[in-house]
């Protein structure tokens, strides 16, 4: 028995994985995969891979066979998307749903000097094939009104105007408010502890960075109405006036 029960922290995260969509006949598709691996050594090494079976009609035995063949090529499948529930057994990778597409992954061209290397050889990872997504900024030229919710998971949000009481701004990156922040501001929601919140006038109902939050009551009264920046230090939210 635990004498001091401590809550377990659970957080939702989203990650970028490569989705492989095998085609029939599987052997032909595997041959093309080998060709790709030959051109870009270590392409699938240590990468989270999801198998997309939406357009593939195969049985469980064939699926096990496919997974084994992929494993032999050092392709580790972390989840299966688009498969019938009956196809998946407890010892198979778990089903994934609601995947969102991003830009197609560019495959690095074969280096001219590089001789074909066996896919299994643990070559040091070359240039990262998964290109970092451009951190698009969102700039809003009008106030955020009560009841409105501004959600931008990809990067920073800048509001030229105020954020009203009863509204919320959620950003994957930092939040900049060139006006009064009266509603809720949640920065770094995709697990970015370095995100910050800046505002001209702090009247916020709630502020949060990377899942750690403070309500208006917990904010230092002396900072209300001031131009401030808010950041995360360890697990503590820090607020300081911008002089």
């Amino acid at each position: 028995m635990l004498t001091q029960p401590r809550p377990i922290r659970l957080k939702g995260r989203s990650f970028l994985a490569l989705a492989l969509s095998p085609e029939l006949p599987v052997d032909d598709w595997l041959a093309r995969l080998d060709d790709l691996a030959a051109r870009s050594a270590g392409f699938f090494l240590r990468k989270p891979i999801v198998l997309d079976l939406a357009n593939l009609d195969i049985g469980q035995a064939e699926l096990r066979d496919l997974l084994a063949k992929l494993a032999a090529r050092n392709v580790r499948i972390m989840g299966i998307e688009g498969a019938r529930a009956s196809l998946l057994a407890p010892d198979l990778p778990p089903a994934l749903t609601d995947g969102k597409g991003t830009s197609d992954i560019e495959i690095p061209p074969a280096e001219e000097t590089a001789a074909p290397v066996p896919a299994a050889s643990p070559a040091p990872a070359g240039p990262a094939p998964v290109q970092a997504r451009a951190h698009a900024s969102l700039v809003l030229n009008q106030p955020v009104r009560s009841g409105q919710s501004l959600y931008h998971a990809d990067g920073d949000v800048t509001v030229i105007g105020s954020v009203a009481s009863g509204s919320e701004v959620v950003a994957g990156g930092s939040i900049h408010v060139y006006g009064a922040l009266r509603g809720r501001a949640m920065a770094g929601t995709m697990g970015n502890a370095t995100a910050r919140i800046f505002c001209r006038k702090l009247e916020a109902e709630l502020i949060a960075i990377d899942g750690f939050y403070k309500t208006a009551e917990d904010l230092e009264p002396g900072l209300r109405g001031k131009a401030v920046q808010i950041w995360l230090e360890g697990e503590t939210i820090k607020v300081a006036a911008l002089s």
Partner: protein, 271 residues
């Protein structure tokens, strides 16, 4: 083609109906053809404030459902002959308002009148969104207190997203009408000051209507305040707001500033 105005607020009891009647009567007294439309189906009040409750035969819902012609439902005011009322139904509810029906009625009214003033119900549901849907101009009625201001802010957000103008990528012209303003209470800090409200809502000010017994008195005798006593403080404020709606650049005087000036003169004499 006439202009369609929606008088809206989100919160109830802030003075939408009073303002609709007062502005309608003020505009009509300049000779313009004005119709005030009650969208508060099920809780109609505009007929009372206009003093026409005994003359209602057909209403907005009858017209929308094809049970009556528009001309049969329109009630001409007995005091100003260019002022008309299209009453709401008291026995039906807001589900009887259809988007197509409302569009048909508003289009017909726009052809016949210079101003179509729609009195929106409180809330943000069907009645309110249909009342604002076809508007060219919105008048956001707000009391100087926090809950009214926040509700108005919500409504401004809807005006910028749920109206035809917004959906066509145009911006809705929005005006703030600050009602029930009591300068003494604002000075004491019991009420929000004009600047505070303007700072939060950041839309242009159409007028400030002082808190006054004249408004209640006019409502009780079934008369828009701009018809009951044209020289009362709220009536003057509504007349000025109507002139601003007509495009006149008239400076807004904060009630109480006048008294401040008077106080200064008085003070000088005493010294």
């Amino acid at each position: 083609m006439g202009k369609v105005i929606v008088v809206t607020s989100g919160k109830g009891g802030v003075g939408k109906t009073t303002s609709t009647a007062a502005l309608g009567a003020a505009l009509a007294q300049t000779g313009a053809k004005v119709v005030v439309v009650d969208f508060d189906v099920g809780l109609r009040n505009l007929d009372l404030v206009m003093g026409a409750e005994r003359r209602v035969v057909y209403d907005l819902v009858n017209v929308i459902q094809g049970e009556a012609k528009l001309t049969q439902a329109l009630i001409r005011d007995k005091r100003v002959e260019t002022l008309f009322l299209l009453p709401a139904s008291q026995t039906r509810d807001k589900d009887n308002l259809t988007p197509e029906g409302v569009e048909r009625v508003i289009t017909a009214l726009k052809k016949a009148f210079d101003w179509v003033i729609c009195d929106s119900p409180a809330g943000i549901e069907r009645g309110a969104t249909l009342a604002m849907r076809h508007a060219d101009v919105a008048i956001v009625v707000t009391n100087p207190e926090v809950s009214s201001v926040r509700d108005s802010d919500r409504i401004i957000g809807l005006l910028d997203s749920k109206t035809l103008k917004a959906e066509n990528g145009e911006t809705m012209e929005k005006h703030l009408l600050l009602t029930r303003y009591d300068s003494a209470r604002a000075d004491r800090g019991d009420m929000l000051k004009v600047d505070d409200v303007l700072e939060i809502l950041s839309i242009p000010l159409l007028g400030i209507i002082p808190e006054s017994m004249d408004v209640l008195r006019a409502s009780n005798v079934g008369s828009p305040v701009t018809l009951a006593d044209g020289r009362s403080a709220p009536a003057i404020a509504y007349f000025e707001a109507a002139r601003r709606l007509n495009g006149e650049a008239l400076p807004v005087v904060v009630p109480g500033d006048k008294r401040g000036l008077f106080g200064k003169i008085f003070g000088r004499r005493a010294a």
